[in-house]
């Protein structure tokens, strides 16, 4: 689980952190993901195949990056019964396997009428390069 969790909507603050979560992603992980997501493994599990397609080495599928950011959100949501309404991702640079990635984000805006929180999210490598960036909207139901 991530190091941070959403509190009740009423206690959310702009700047509240999501994560950070540090995780090593190797080819064994991309292989599992490709099998679970019905994707051809190719450039996601084999460096030579990736290089033949102009990539520096095997990379994470974009859908895996999206899924890891979604997990960052659901970990943050915890047992608050909130739900993700939308998530947008932009793949800025290939995410190379066999590296430790940091996933994190923060709350950028809250809407008390709609009970939603807007968040910025990203995945960065060991050099601090933001390889994948995203935004998400999370809805917190009214309490009974």
């Amino acid at each position: 689980m991530a190091d941070s969790q959403a509190s009740d909507f009423e206690n959310l603050q702009i700047g509240d952190p999501l994560g950070p979560e540090h995780r090593f992603v190797g080819k064994q992980h991309t292989k599992l993901f490709c099998a679970a997501a019905h994707m051809e493994a190719g450039r996601f599990t084999d460096d030579e195949t990736a290089r033949s397609q102009g990539l520096p080495a095997a990379i994470l599928p974009g859908n895996m990056s999206l899924s890891l950011l979604t997990k960052l959100l659901t970990d943050w949501i915890g047992d608050s019964n909130a739900r993700i309404v939308r998530l947008g991702t932009t793949y800025r640079s290939p995410v190379i396997t066999e590296h430790t990635l940091t996933l994190q984000g923060f709350v950028t805006h809250t809407n008390s009428e709609e009970r939603t929180a807007e968040t910025d999210l990203w995945i960065e490598n060991e050099d601090g390069d933001r390889l994948v960036i995203g935004t998400a909207t999370v809805h917190f139901p009214a309490r009974d």
């Binding site: 997501a37 997990k71 659901t74 947008g88 932009t90 793949y91």
Partner: protein, 147 residues
């Protein structure tokens, strides 16, 4: 300006056969991203949760494959192209026992000029529906080509 047949926009070019969802599929997907959230993998805990049973993690929606015509009908505007990102609207949870089908159409085509030159973006929208014909998600795939 990028040129394309305007009749492309909005026309559904792909509709897949229903793809069944099992608890094992969801469990395998969770394992692949290290997700141990009980709402997704623990039937007893999930039954006491907000959905009354196991649901798939939201990003499970992107695991449904488009059919064989998908890349045939995605317009191409250059020799190189890649997946630039996705926008996903999560409408309803996906549950074990659901049967999900996708319908896809070209939503938008636009051109941008950046530091590395002109780029063409093609947005393909896939709408996922369950066996009750309820929309569970919209996924906008953003493909970028260098013109």
């Amino acid at each position: 300006m990028v040129e394309y047949d305007p009749a492309l926009i909005g026309r559904v070019f792909e509709e897949t056969e229903p793809q069944p969802v099992t608890a094992e599929d969801i469990s395998r997907f969770c394992e692949s991203i290290g997700d141990t959230n009980p709402l997704f993998v623990d039937a007893a805990a999930a039954s006491a949760g907000p959905y009354g049973g196991i649901v798939a993690p939201p990003s499970f929606a992107v695991s449904f494959r488009n059919g064989r015509h998908f890349f045939t009908f995605v317009p191409r505007f250059g020799s190189t192209g890649f997946d630039a990102g996705k926008d996903v609207e999560f409408v309803a949870p996906i549950r074990p026992g659901d049967e999900i089908r996708l319908a896809s159409h070209v939503k938008e085509i636009y051109e941008k000029t950046g530091r590395s030159g002109s780029m063409v973006f093609v947005i393909i929208r896939s709408t996922l529906r369950n066996q009750k014909d309820e929309v569970v998600a919209h996924i906008d795939h953003r493909f970028m080509s260098k013109a």
